[in-house]
């Protein structure tokens, strides 16, 4: 089938396989320089450390060139007073903003060019117009930035602006220059045939259609890994990283050497393993739920049970907590009910530290049981009825049939889910534990994810919380591969 489609695609693009001449091969190599310079240019637009428009110390350190271009308001946050007093020419900032915006536009033009350079010779030739045009525009905008720096130098109270020429400016110049000169060379080098139509091979067209999604995946899944560098620096939120703050493995060591931290980590890991462990120990419950539910012959009853027990899975943990309040708090259902039957009580069951692990397990089961059972219910309905009939003939009772037919049929599904939950033993999420935590149960409810949140976001201790998250991620990946190998070993099938 694949071959048929491929040949159909070849017909569609009218592609002939022709040997490429040395000149064309040279062009192909040169185009990689253009594309590389465009890609680097895109990336540095978004990094605050590579902001060529940061011409004074007063501009926020965490602003990228992109932000300078799209948000004039953020650009001038620190200059309200300076403008009002006439210390700084506002025109310089308008020019800076406009230049940044033009750089963004220029990069967009170059992106179009870089994408088009994947086409045939005719399209390649057209693409050079875009890359040349884009790089010329970028150079003009860079001159604009230089000009605004000049204007700032001439401001009345120079110590209030403190202009600093960003060294990174030259990287932009080099990138634009590379794109300009290589594209100009390509314009001459790329051979053209009369009457050739601009088109692109199917494989590149498909790739370009896919590209936006790949870029998003890169930005939001791979780029965060780059944030692991914070684990090796002495970083406080709001600052920028610099090499003089490099501390190596200091935070890793402090995790083990500082008594208070070590105690905290041990407590949190204990909570995490205990609650995940309880979850794993009860992971057979949905299977039994499904088996017993299928023992009920009344279909309407079965459907009603399934419908209502699945609801809790679709409400958020915040709402579960709202329900917990309604039932177990001081003026909740339990107290109201006990009072009404003559046992006046005023206990807030949520404000207690006892059996926290079991309570969290119970809430997890309440929320997830009906939903987790669905996969088993579906599998049970797929079991061959003849097996049961044969067993009945052989005199098997209800439990014998469950034990010797149903359970063995469900075990493969169960094993996959079990191995996955073992691989996820360290990541039990934070939502459930966050909503239920309060000052009284804090010590027995805090799991790793919640601890990282409290440490990093609430207390702002970025490096140490990064270290914990990093170690956790690495262990999780190792566990996943271990679980996968186990699965391959015993089932001959991988789970990932």
């Amino acid at each position: 089938m694949a071959d048929a489609v491929r040949s159909a695609a070849d017909i569609g693009s009218n592609k002939r396989v022709v040997e490429r001449t040395p000149r064309e091969k040279l062009c192909d190599v040169l185009f990689w320089f253009v594309r590389a310079s465009v890609v680097v240019n895109i990336i540095i637009l978004f990094f605050p450390n590579f902001n060529a428009a940061r011409v004074t110390d007063q501009i926020n350190k965490n602003m990228s060139l992109f932000t300078c271009g799209v948000s004039y308001k953020t650009l001038i946050t620190n200059f309200g007073r300076a403008f009002a007093r006439g210390w700084v020419p506002e025109a310089a900032f308008k020019l800076l903003n406009a230049s940044s915006l033009i750089i963004i536009a220029a990069v967009v033009i170059m992106i179009i060019g870089a994408c088009m350079s994947l086409g045939n010779n005719k399209m390649k030739k057209t693409s050079t117009f875009f890359t040349i045009g884009g790089s010329v525009v970028e150079i003009c905008a860079l001159i604009g930035i230089y000009r605004s720096y000049d204007m700032l130098l001439g401001s009345e109270k120079i110590e209030k602006v403190n202009p600093v020429f960003p060294a990174i400016f030259w990287l932009y110049v080099v990138l634009a220059g590379v794109a300009l000169f290589v594209s100009a060379a390509e314009l001459i080098l790329v051979p053209t045939t009369k009457g050739e139509k601009a088109e692109m091979a199917a494989k590149y067209r498909l790739f370009l259609m896919m590209l936006p999604i790949l870029v998003l995946a890169f930005v939001f899944c791979y780029l965060p890994l780059f944030g692991w560098r914070y684990a090796f620096f002495d970083y406080k939120s709001g600052e920028t990283l610099s090499w003089d703050k490099f501390v190596g493995f200091k935070w890793f060591k402090s995790l083990l050497n500082t008594a208070a931290t070590r105690k905290d980590v041990v407590r949190v890991v204990k909570n995490t393993l205990a609650m995940s462990g309880l979850g794993i120990a009860t992971s057979w419950v949905p299977m039994v739920f499904a088996i017993f539910l299928s023992e009920i012959k009344n279909t309407t009853f079965r459907r009603v049970v399934q419908t209502f027990t699945t609801i809790p899975n679709f409400i958020s943990w915040v709402l579960v907590y709202a329900i917990a309040l309604a039932i177990f708090s001081t003026d909740g259902f339990i107290n109201t009910f006990l009072t009404s039957i003559g046992h006046p009580t005023m206990t807030n069951y949520l404000l207690s530290d006892s059996h926290m692990w079991l309570k969290m397990l119970a809430w997890g089961l309440w929320k997830g049981l009906g939903w987790s059972a669905i996969i088993y219910i579906a599998s049970i309905s797929g079991i061959d009825q003849q097996l049961y009939e044969a067993a009945t003939v052989d005199g098997a009772g209800r439990f014998a049939k469950m034990w010797f037919i149903t359970i063995p049929e469900l075990i493969p599904t169960y094993m996959v889910l079990l191995l996955m939950s073992i691989a996820n033993i360290l990541s039990n999420g934070m939502e459930q534990y966050l909503v239920f935590s309060n000052s009284i149960n804090k010590n027995s409810i805090e799991v790793l994810d919640l601890y990282v949140y409290n440490l990093g976001i609430t207390s702002g201790l970025i490096p140490i919380s990064t270290v914990i998250g990093m170690v956790k991620s690495i262990i999780s990946v190792i566990l996943l591969f271990a679980a996968n190998s186990v699965s391959k070993l015993i089932r001959g099938e991988s789970i990932v």
């Binding site: 569609g12 999604i213 995946a217 709202a322 976001i457 990093m470």
Partner: protein, 320 residues
């Protein structure tokens, strides 16, 4: 099936009905059945009673609720509490934010998953295998909460509405689901379209999109519920922008500021929106009413969702 076949089948059924003796239930069976039914009745009740309890407390007379009389049945019905909620601008603001993110986020996610799922079936794509692994691998690692936060903050997405939408567009799991589904569509359909001169886009929106509607509906519904229930991203990335709080986050705030809320009810502060809640309502009733309003949208789509449960969960077992 011909008429005669039908007749013979009916006769066969009738025969079996008359001639199979009902298996007699042993006492053990009866006890088992009773216990079994009892368990499921109790568990089902435990799943719906809390919702019912909250609901009857919001529609009963507030004085009775405060006295703690309402346990199983509503008394002196009123919808006053819900009408009062109309004045809580914060809540409606969160509603608008959440509805927008649910709509926009789901549409973009479904579109991206459909497109990527389709493209990933195309063997002729440049380095298809590599890019497929590039996507799938992201399901198995996670940089962690803080690096993710710093990344979004560096990109200027924190404290913006876009942080709800953009990071959620690409979902490798859903891409795999769509890819598996598209692979089951006969290749001849696509081929004939190719020969008729259709390009990839035309094939995508004229053939693949309509034919994969079942799977797209499944991922849309689960995606929408995920967006509606999202709480963490609002809490972590937008904590400094109350105007961008999602409904769940807003509810969380209300649940935790009980002292504040009751102060407002007692008229201690009258400047805020929440002061509008004073009058006959106390903290408990306010919390109940807001919880109920937050649940309602889920309950409304729930009947439609049900038929996608099995396809949703079963497809999860099929991986490419």
């Amino acid at each position: 099936m011909t008429h005669e076949e039908k007749l013979s089948k009916r006769a066969e059924e009738k025969y079996f009905k008359e001639h199979t003796t009902k298996i007699k239930l042993t006492p053990g069976d009866i006890v088992f059945n009773i216990l079994n039914y009892l368990f499921f009745i109790l568990f089902t009740l435990s799943c719906i009673f809390p919702f019912y309890y909250i609901f009857i407390n919001t529609i009963s007379n507030n004085e009775l609720v405060k006295k703690g009389v309402i346990t199983f049945f509503p008394q002196q019905l009123t919808i006053q509490n819900y009408i009062m909620m109309a004045n809580v601008n914060d809540l409606w603001n969160s509603f608008v934010v959440t509805i927008l993110r649910t709509l926009i986020g789901t549409v973009l996610m479904v579109f991206a998953s459909a497109l990527a799922g389709y493209l990933m079936t195309k063997q002729e794509m440049w380095h298809r295998k590599f890019w497929y692994r590039f996507l799938v691998i992201t399901m198995y690692f996670n940089a962690g909460l803080i690096p993710t936060y710093l990344n979004l903050s560096m990109l200027g997405l924190t404290n913006t509405f876009l942080v709800y939408i953009i990071p959620a567009i690409v979902s490798p799991y859903n891409i795999i689901l769509v890819k598996t589904y598209v692979e089951s569509i006969p290749g001849e359909i696509e081929e004939s379209a190719f020969i008729d001169g259709a390009g990839y886009w035309t094939i995508f929106y004229k053939i693949i999109w309509p034919l994969s509607k079942p799977i797209l509906a499944t991922i849309a519904i689960f995606g929408a519920v995920g967006h509606w229930n999202s709480f963490q991203d609002s809490l972590i990335y937008n904590s400094n922008s109350p105007e961008l709080y999602t409904v769940q986050h807003r509810l969380y705030v209300y649940l935790n500021q009980s002292s504040n809320l009751s102060a407002m009810v007692n008229g201690a502060t009258s400047s805020s929106d929440t002061a509008a809640l004073s009058g006959a309502m106390n903290t408990k009733i306010i919390q109940y009413t807001i919880s109920m309003i937050t649940i309602i949208p889920i309950m409304l789509v729930y009947p439609f969702m049900q038929r996608y449960f099995e396809s949703g969960i079963m497809l999860g077992a099929v991986k490419g």
